[in-house]
């Protein structure tokens, strides 16, 4: 493939992001990262967290590049990194797979004259509001109006579906999936910042909080934070006095309202970027009608062109967790076709033997960095270095112009050898970015990398005390003294090595477990699937078709055949798990297969135990064969049941068991499933009357098109509230449903032949399994992932992963994507074969341990446990598994016997720092 790399006019290998250039650059331009709410210089870093943290020059505004004059940055740059002669370069790469993750473009509401976004300063987009709320944004998180008064708004409205679910004013018929939730979040945070006197109102059509824990957030926004919700579409925004805004809308009751707000946020949708559409045409991949990448539910990250995969919002509007799932899945899909090439381009690092320093007196080397003028401009660096030589155990101290530059690193390594140093302190910038670099220098000099300490005299000193050089120098001396006193006590730490068993165990043979096993096997790993039932497939066996119209049973059969024929996969049917021992890399599970006990050894485990439909306890379920659940209707349709064919009328009731006080979550799939079933009934028999009784229709993403299609096909949608749910009665064998129509505000009575209850999805709830693998379960019974956004397919406990309904209700495409994602995450461990853990871990002293168990119950990573009672040594005492320990120190602080030590941050080291700081000079 051919790539074009645009010039950044900065030599990345030289730039140290000191910021001197930015300070002096004379050209100010609008900052696109802050959506035009702030200005930045022509030479810039896009945002504080940018990776790599290197400057770039904007060729559109740079005076030098435009007019050939200026060059201030070039004169100033201390490392000579500015290169105005850089040219566009083309790069040729030979690759086996391509993953497309080009994202989306926020909808631009300028074209909507009714909202007057372009004209009225206090009409802002949600993206702008996001920047206003951000602590690192242009207002440091203070919400102020864009009008000249820059006043604090007292009343803010959010308008939903701007550029989404709209065919009249724009061509975006789909739902953008994320806007309801972000509007809720923005309103809640705005109120948290501004306090109770801020009024927030959200104007919406359907509230779509279908993600994990989202419904609870919606409930809290309404009930706890006092956010107002108006179900209506606002038609116009007019200017009012004092740059306020007048909104006209019709309340649900039919009343026409005019209301004044002092700020309006347009919840803009997601749309495809035209540049990406062009790229898709160029590389010949299929797009949907809405220019999103077209995929199949059974291969959710594969484009129409083999070897090219997709993830993120280019595949369709989606939120962060789903994007992260897809990205892992795309990595797995690429891994499946490239597994033979794995490790073929790996380079082995040369290992330098580590010097044994035990018994040696500490000999500390202190390097004080000037960081050009960044530190030396404020702090008297030579004085600090001079001072360092007077500290106990300091053998050598000097200053460097740039400690992080390659030649300085070399010099430092040589000095370590020459002066026979056994501890190193660098006083420079922050260990968060530079500790690994200096540790590498130590390693290259034959020193254990934990014999190192940093003093942060830039970020925490010179940069923040510019006007107080004397105090800053004093502070630098204090920090260096503290760092030296800690380093003196540093010991070489061992990183434990662990061999990872190259076998995987997948628990649950439903569709996501199958997807996980298949991906693992295709990437060359032996995989066991354990299934409680007598066949694979799980809930998917009961489903007629996907939202995209794919036949589920045919696809499932193909998937099953693929798994059965893969020699890497062993299927254990009619099997349960009786016991699990061990931890990441080395699990031992006892299984019971058809009554016989077996033992499996595996390095990783994927929990895919799925879920099932609730058996409804309302709406007369179980009292009449015409009343059934959604899956039962699917079964009847799969079997071409005559009762379905005969029916003249069919009614669906939504949220049966979901979004109720005792089960406050949305089951995510039921709206789409119902709409799909309703359409199928209409297709089979166009004259059938079909009613859907719902609370909010949540056909997120391009599923919205099905909802539109259903309404066009004549399916009638009637909304109800939790306080007036439909009544189901049997009157002389006639099935009758009564409820109040929300538009007519009058009671409606429907006589029906079929009543389908969209019952909620319940997790499998296997408490034993949660205990076996030491993984947490939430109030609703779903497993709790490592991170709700960034770690959706893995647990905080290393080596254990999750996917499918065990995580949260989700449709087939998302279940398969998460199955692949869990496999992908698991392979990040398996592929390493051996794991080295951090040396900064906790360790118990069994002689001191009182066996109270606080550490065992407290640790979020399940690292401590008790030594078995029958062990020969220290039976019953706590021990910490260094492989699982993350070095947080929670157990250390909680240990009442003082039996736990945290290597690298031990008590004596912290005390030494405290003493050193308070030492009077």
């Amino acid at each position: 493939m051919d790539l074009i790399q645009h010039p950044r006019y900065i030599d990345e290998t030289k730039c140290i992001a000191c910021g001197a250039c930015e300070e002096k650059c004379p050209k100010k331009v609008i900052d696109p990262y802050n959506i035009g709410l702030a200005k930045r210089k022509s030479i810039y870093v896009e945002y504080a967290q940018a990776v790599p943290l290197k400057y770039a020059i904007d060729p559109e505004s740079c005076i030098m590049l435009k007019k050939g004059k200026c060059g201030a940055c070039q004169k100033l740059c201390p490392v000579d990194a500015i290169d105005f002669d850089q040219k566009e370069t083309s790069v040729k790469l030979e690759v086996g797979a391509v993953i497309l993750a080009p994202g989306f473009k926020p909808f631009d509401p300028k074209r909507f004259d009714n909202y007057q976004y372009a004209k009225l300063p206090n009409v802002v987009t949600s993206m702008e509001f996001e920047r206003l709320l951000s602590a690192s944004g242009p207002t440091q998180g203070h919400i102020s109006r864009k009008s000249k008064d820059h006043g604090d708004p007292k009343k803010i409205a959010w308008l939903q579906c701007v550029g989404s679910r709209d065919m009249n004013r724009c061509d975006n018929p789909y739902c953008s999936s994320v806007c309801c939730m972000y509007a809720l979040k923005e309103a809640v945070i705005a109120k948290e910042h501004a306090g109770d006197d801020l009024e927030c109102a959200i104007f919406f059509m359907d509230m779509r909080t279908h993600g994990k824990d989202f419904e609870r957030y919606y409930d809290a926004a309404r009930e706890k934070h006092g956010i107002r919700f108006e179900r209506t579409k606002v038609h116009t925004i007019n200017p009012a006095a004092n740059d306020n805004l007048e909104m006209r809308y019709i309340k649900e009751s039919g009343e026409s309202i005019s209301e004044i707000f002092d700020m309006v946020v347009l919840s803009v949708g997601l749309e495809a970027n035209p540049a990406v559409t062009d790229l898709a045409k160029k590389i010949n991949i299929d797009l949907t009608d809405n220019q999103f990448c077209n995929t199949n539910s059974f291969s959710p990250v594969a484009t129409s062109r083999p070897g090219i995969f997709v993830c993120g919002a280019f595949q369709g509007p989606k939120d962060i967790p789903q994007s992260v799932v897809d990205s892992s899945a795309a990595a797995a899909a690429a891994g499946e076709i490239l597994s033979t090439a794995r490790n073929s381009l790996t380079k082995v690092e040369e290992k330098i033997p580590e010097k044994n320093i035990s018994g040696e007196r500490p000999r500390v080397g202190v390097f004080v960095c000037k960081c050009g003028i960044n530190i030396a401009g404020v702090v008297d660096v030579p004085a600090v270095a001079e001072y360092a030589t007077t500290l106990p155990y300091v053998e050598y101290a000097a200053d460097n112009l740039y400690s992080c530059s390659q030649d300085t690193q070399k010099t430092m390594a040589e000095l370590v050898k020459e002066k026979n140093l056994n501890r190193v302190v660098v006083a420079a910038c922050t260990p968060k970015t530079h500790e690994p670099l200096f540790q590498e220098t130590l390693t290259s000099a034959g020193l254990n990398k934990y014999l190192f300490e940093m003093a942060n005299i830039r970020n925490h000193d010179s940069w923040v005390h510019k006007n107080n050089p004397d105090l800053a120098t004093e502070k630098a001396k204090d920090l260096v003294r503290a760092a030296v006193s800690k380093a003196v006590l540093a010991e070489p730490l061992k990183e434990s090595e662990l061999t990872v068993n190259q076998t995987a165990l997948v628990i649950g043979g439903g569709i996501s477990g199958m997807a996980a096993a298949q991906s693992l096997a295709l990437q060359g790993y032996k995989t066991h699937i354990v299934e409680r039932d007598d066949q694979l497939g799980g809930q998917a066996r009961n489903i007629l078709q996907t939202a995209k119209g794919e036949n589920v049973s045919e696809n499932l059969q193909a998937m099953t055949a693929g798994i059965e024929s893969n020699s890497n996969i062993t299927i254990h049917l009619n099997t349960t798990i009786d016991d699990v021992q061990g931890f990441v890399g080395n699990f031992k599970s006892k299984i019971n297969e058809n009554g016989s006990e077996k033992s499996l050894e595996h390095g990783v485990a994927i929990i895919a135990t799925g879920g099932h439909a609730l058996v409804p306890e309302e709406y007369l379920y179980g009292q009449d064969p015409r009343i059934m659940t959604s899956l039962e209707l699917d079964r009847k349709m799969i079997n071409n049941d005559p009762d379905v064919a005969k029916a003249q009328t069919a009614v669906f009731i939504q949220c049966v068991g979901s979004r109720e006080p005792n089960r406050p979550y949305c089951s995510r799939v039921c709206c789409t499933h119902t709409v799909d079933s309703a359409l199928e009934l209409k297709k089979r028999k166009p004259e059938m009357s079909v009613f859907v009784l719902y609370r909010d229709i949540r056909t997120y993403g391009e599923r919205e098109l099905l909802y539109r299609e259903a309404r066009e096909a004549g399916v009638i949608f009637i909304r109800f509230g939790l306080e007036n749910k439909p009544q189901v009665n049997l009157e002389k064998k006639q099935l009758c449903i009564t409820l109040t129509d929300h538009i007519l505000n009058r009671p409606v009575r429907i006589e029906t032949d079929l009543l389908t209850l969209a019952s909620s999805i319940l997790p499998a709830r296997d408490e034993k399994l949660a205990v076996f693998f030491k993984v947490p379960v939430n109030e609703d019974g779903f497993y709790i992932e490592r991170h709700a956004k960034l770690g959706p397919s893995e647990f905080a406990t290393d080596g254990v992963f999750l996917c499918g309904l065990a995580h949260y209700p989700k449709p087939i495409d998302e279940s398969i994507a998460q199955g692949k994602a869990a496999a992908s995450r698991a392979i990040t461990l398996l592929a390493r074969e051996t794991i080295f853990t951090s040396g900064q871990v906790a360790e118990t002293n069994p002689a001191m341990c009182s066996q109270c168990g606080v550490c065992v119950s407290l640790c979020p990573y399940s690292a401590p446990d008790f030594i078995p009672g029958d062990a020969r040594m220290n039976a019953g005492k706590a021990q910490i598994n260094p492989v699982l320990c993350k070095g947080c120190g929670l157990c250390v602080a909680s240990c009442r016997s003082g039996a736990i030590h945290l290597k690298g941050f031990d008590n004596d080291q912290i005390f030494a720092q405290i003493f050193a700081i308070n030492m009077v000079n």
Partner: protein, 56 residues
């Protein structure tokens, strides 16, 4: 913790707790300012400092 210190004769304003996310640099500076101001108002800490003869 504050109560314990008070019991020992240490002013409660000599210990502070806060929660700041890594993106909230503004809040960080604000908290530093507040604490520094409060502690300056209290004057040097004398109550609990170990009283040993210090070699000058």
């Amino acid at each position: 913790m504050k109560n314990l210190l008070e019991l020992m004769g240490v002013e409660p304003d000599r210990i502070h707790f806060s929660w700041i996310s890594s993106a909230e640099s503004t809040k960080f500076v604000q908290v530093v300012n507040e604490i520094a101001e409060k502690v300056k108002a209290l004057g040097p800490n004398r109550h609990f400092v170990k009283q040993e003869a210090k070699v000058a």
